[in-house]
Symmetry: D2
Subunit: 366 residues, 4 copies
Amino acid sequence: MANGSSFGNLFTITTWGESHGKGVGVVIDGCPAGISLCEEDIQIDLDKRKPGQSVFSTPRKESDKVEILSGVFDGKTTGTPISLIVYNNNQQSKDYSDIAKHYRPGHADLTYDYKYGFRDYRGGGRSSGRETIGRVAGGAIAKKILKELSVEITTYTKSIDNITIDENLFDKNEIYNNPLCFPDKSCVKKAENYLLNLIKEGNSAGGIIECTVDNLPAGIGEPVFDRLDAMLSKAIMSIGSVKGIEIGNGFQVASTTGLENNDFYHYDNNKIVKETNNAGGILGGISDGSKIILRAAIKPTPSIKLTQQTIDKEGNNIDINIKGRHDPIIVPRAVIVVESMVAITLVDMLLINMTSKIENIKTLYL
Amino acid sequence: MANGSSFGNLFTITTWGESHGKGVGVVIDGCPAGISLCEEDIQIDLDKRKPGQSVFSTPRKESDKVEILSGVFDGKTTGTPISLIVYNNNQQSKDYSDIAKHYRPGHADLTYDYKYGFRDYRGGGRSSGRETIGRVAGGAIAKKILKELSVEITTYTKSIDNITIDENLFDKNEIYNNPLCFPDKSCVKKAENYLLNLIKEGNSAGGIIECTVDNLPAGIGEPVFDRLDAMLSKAIMSIGSVKGIEIGNGFQVASTTGLENNDFYHYDNNKIVKETNNAGGILGGISDGSKIILRAAIKPTPSIKLTQQTIDKEGNNIDINIKGRHDPIIVPRAVIVVESMVAITLVDMLLINMTSKIENIKTLYL
Amino acid sequence: MANGSSFGNLFTITTWGESHGKGVGVVIDGCPAGISLCEEDIQIDLDKRKPGQSVFSTPRKESDKVEILSGVFDGKTTGTPISLIVYNNNQQSKDYSDIAKHYRPGHADLTYDYKYGFRDYRGGGRSSGRETIGRVAGGAIAKKILKELSVEITTYTKSIDNITIDENLFDKNEIYNNPLCFPDKSCVKKAENYLLNLIKEGNSAGGIIECTVDNLPAGIGEPVFDRLDAMLSKAIMSIGSVKGIEIGNGFQVASTTGLENNDFYHYDNNKIVKETNNAGGILGGISDGSKIILRAAIKPTPSIKLTQQTIDKEGNNIDINIKGRHDPIIVPRAVIVVESMVAITLVDMLLINMTSKIENIKTLYL
Amino acid sequence: MANGSSFGNLFTITTWGESHGKGVGVVIDGCPAGISLCEEDIQIDLDKRKPGQSVFSTPRKESDKVEILSGVFDGKTTGTPISLIVYNNNQQSKDYSDIAKHYRPGHADLTYDYKYGFRDYRGGGRSSGRETIGRVAGGAIAKKILKELSVEITTYTKSIDNITIDENLFDKNEIYNNPLCFPDKSCVKKAENYLLNLIKEGNSAGGIIECTVDNLPAGIGEPVFDRLDAMLSKAIMSIGSVKGIEIGNGFQVASTTGLENNDFYHYDNNKIVKETNNAGGILGGISDGSKIILRAAIKPTPSIKLTQQTIDKEGNNIDINIKGRHDPIIVPRAVIVVESMVAITLVDMLLINMTSKIENIKTLYL
């Protein structure tokens, strides 16, 4: 399935919907049977990306209530497709009527016209951030599976502009205690001030999201093309505003030596441990049993109120000031999206790896 | 096909082979019929990654001569699978006999054992860099297709450690004029000295590869999950030593504002042009007709002669000094590998995009 | 995507939903942009499989009204996923309460329990014939594409029990003029009498559906595994009650000689024609430009009122008499399902074939 | 991977090669690690399809010796791709020189030209029966996996023309004791006489192959599109000369009633058994634990010596008498091909089913 709205091989999601259509949704196929699942399990994550929760996100009011349409019976997944829907309630399509005629810088308006000849221009149509609702809903289900295996994902804002967390002040419980998803509360005030200034001038900010995974079994990831890091990179880079992805020490490896970069092994009470984790838990594309570490660079929201130069469809160079309701920063709301894509990827790769050894097959069938 | 040795949807490659097995190879399926192709077309790229060409690459002597086994008739591709083989000639398996028993830091030795229960330990087996021969061979064919469309890829060493090219001194013709693949010859001597020192001490270096694409049609890339940048990220991150990937301004976007980062459009003689290209030619996951720009961070060669601490299979903590023939830096030989993966991805996405509009379908069938 | 509810490579459908859940639906991805589409286009085919239209189909009353949730803007497909939903209205779940405890012969009750450990037993759950609504909806869209290319599919009841149409009395306009979808009205009365007798005794009947395709371009179908006939066979055999599929002369070829079976070519006004069409329009898995002909054997409805022996979950051998509302024959309502699966398969294969020649690629991009 | 030379999702084969190219081969990816494998394991099945073994198969002399190029180490599969090659030795390309210019009835000559614009006409090129070598080699490996699970496939000639086996005389040991692969030796003489007559007149014969599977676990097959019967149908119909496929009672169900066709369950010593097996071991697309039964209709060899009317590329209607070396019947050599495709399909579906329940996942990871 090569047309872009499906992801995964065994645990798969297919998303649909536009910003100002009737709704958005996702079909999850390949979810194993027997997992307890209710709407609240999914809603908890959807609420993390819901707009209108602080001054730092768009005031568009959407309850984003999810409804399970299929695939769950007597409170448990049945193994057949789980269809989820979130209706759009608070579309204000008039806000966007003028973007039918021009191309907003930094958006997909022009490229969708190139590709398809025309586009649903209302609120960005299919290229809107609302598309990520399906990812988050799918991710919530993936995390239920990961929980059964005690795999735990932690995702947070690493930096906004140059305001970066101090590892020593890291507190996981802080992440959803502040509207910016910082795990270091000392960053919050500084970043809020920085953003409030940008809001005032009608500009926007970028940042970095970090995601770590604990307790992932060793051996996950397929050799050569479907390496765990390659699959995670595709997953993360497919999120609208991501422009870079790195694993472990990432771009820093370019200026280190082999001696510095290699992680040494030793036995600690008969358990294999690494003294460092520059590799971010992945060697040869396969998990080594240590913590997975990745980071994504998120661009500033392209919709800004400041005057920009662009073109209209009639061949004119024009100036625009984008109206409507927009986030001054994408990072905090993207945190749960990154986490969801990681969760979906990990579940898919965990399932695929089950067939790597003949012993596994005999264990289940004999 | 989820087990990792295949890549692509319509233009696909399936690679096989181990470092010290009988050979390595690739099957390309979905190559359109009617392209002129001979072994020399492929050999020219294989020679760029061939070992033993300078002091900066492993002295293992391999002619790496490719043989076309199928899919070409009367000098043209037939549309059916193209099978290519390169026999291994210069295996020195004895060099590796001791790695059967211990796990080299920074390598996939341990993770393959985790995944499969055992491994072909000779020269890294399937996780060896020789695996990339199939990618380069497939890429050479992909580039023949791109050439028919005037799409041109340029790939080179951007930096080694902190020695970085000066854009003003960029000369495409220099790239294969120096053993380090720098397009700026002012870097070469500095980097050579840096590397010679590392070789002397038995250490290794990392760096950054940059790749740009000119004349890619606008509209390439599928929405949501199979975005052009997502597919390129998977492609590049699947190369053994890559730890980071970025598009356009990449990680820099994290500390810019929307106003700085957005690329403004204007009409220039009725042609749409962008004044800047911070996006690296991709918006909403779809090519916008401007230059594609991406960078990959390459880790230092994990095989170093310096003493490292690790473990053996019997439960002992040990010290090792890796013998055998190794590259002190992966970057120069990886340049053509990055280019090949980009080429394969672009061709696949170009083919998929052909079906995006009903007009296209009517053009070909009516 | 290997978990069974998706079909196709470039033009793909993903279906979801159970007989007595909230509804059933389908997501179509890869539908080319620019095709005019409204709900009525789809409803027309859904109405052909709707229950309760004659004494020969289940009296369950479902309006089966389809709603387009995404992928259409200004009356045209946008190239992004088309999500369609049909709500279930007339579930009478109490009718099925007892089947929670036992296994109906000829149904999937037992095999779903084997596979998933439990099942949504209400009305057959996911294995119900209502699952085919998504196929028919997807097929209606596929047929819009085929219409643009003048490809025409004709599907009808070939036989019920031993009552078989006479080719000389074939009248395409008759097909939807009788409740049994016979193109030969001389069969209708005979078959109705046969079925009325079966209804009286609480039994059911099987039959054969035939499907032909006119104007399919030559060259469609991929060599080796994804032959047109192989893809059609998978498509048709995936319909719940199909137990056999044949192309052209089908099983008759087993008792013919090469001389009898080969179709001879000749030129007729510079056009290549075949004198016979024993091959059913497919040679080497690729369409030859003549009429595609296939037939599917449909088993009798497994739900019958007559006493049957079976087992319950508690370990008892029991007798059952299946109550509830059931079709005495599946064939007529399956006609549009077969047609839909053929349409979806043909569109997918037409799209894939577009990349078979470098000329095609140059035509679209240069 | 949509271009036709790959099959499977988790256990996958990709075949390549033409009748008169350098050789034919296959890459198997997704074979679990730890299975003992040597060339003799594969050769034993290749020898069953090898030409030149009796008067009833083409006298082309090919040793068809297989070589393992990768994926096996210390006598065991490593989990990475297994590349197999068989060199072509006995091409007599001159025999085929004239078919460059005309189109043989019943062959893929014309359709390949339609699709690709030209073809490798030597011996049928890619559409030759030699393509099945890769399938048989892949099937031999699949059968090694099935053997570990005690799944046993039996495949044989059911009928040639109207000479059909008597079930009461069925003897599995006879199958490879006669050149026609009949399990009932009473058929052999009759069929040999029938074929010798056809050979004399330069004609050819068709027949039916039957395949049964014992001990397949219940629960195999995915719902809706990837049903076990649908996947088997695609697999079998993808074999060159197959024109029909049926499961269990197959086309007979069209003239039976529900009461006759339903298989009743009962408990026999707490084990669930069926009294009949009209369903052929598959209900709702999922195996029910009883014997799988399928049949394929094989057309007569299209290459016959008798005069046929056809066309040349220059626009002339011509008569041809096909020379060269051909089988007077395809059936016996196709027996092992059918068995191989069934084996590959079953292994793939067995692997996919491993992830159907959360219990399975916990069993392997916790």
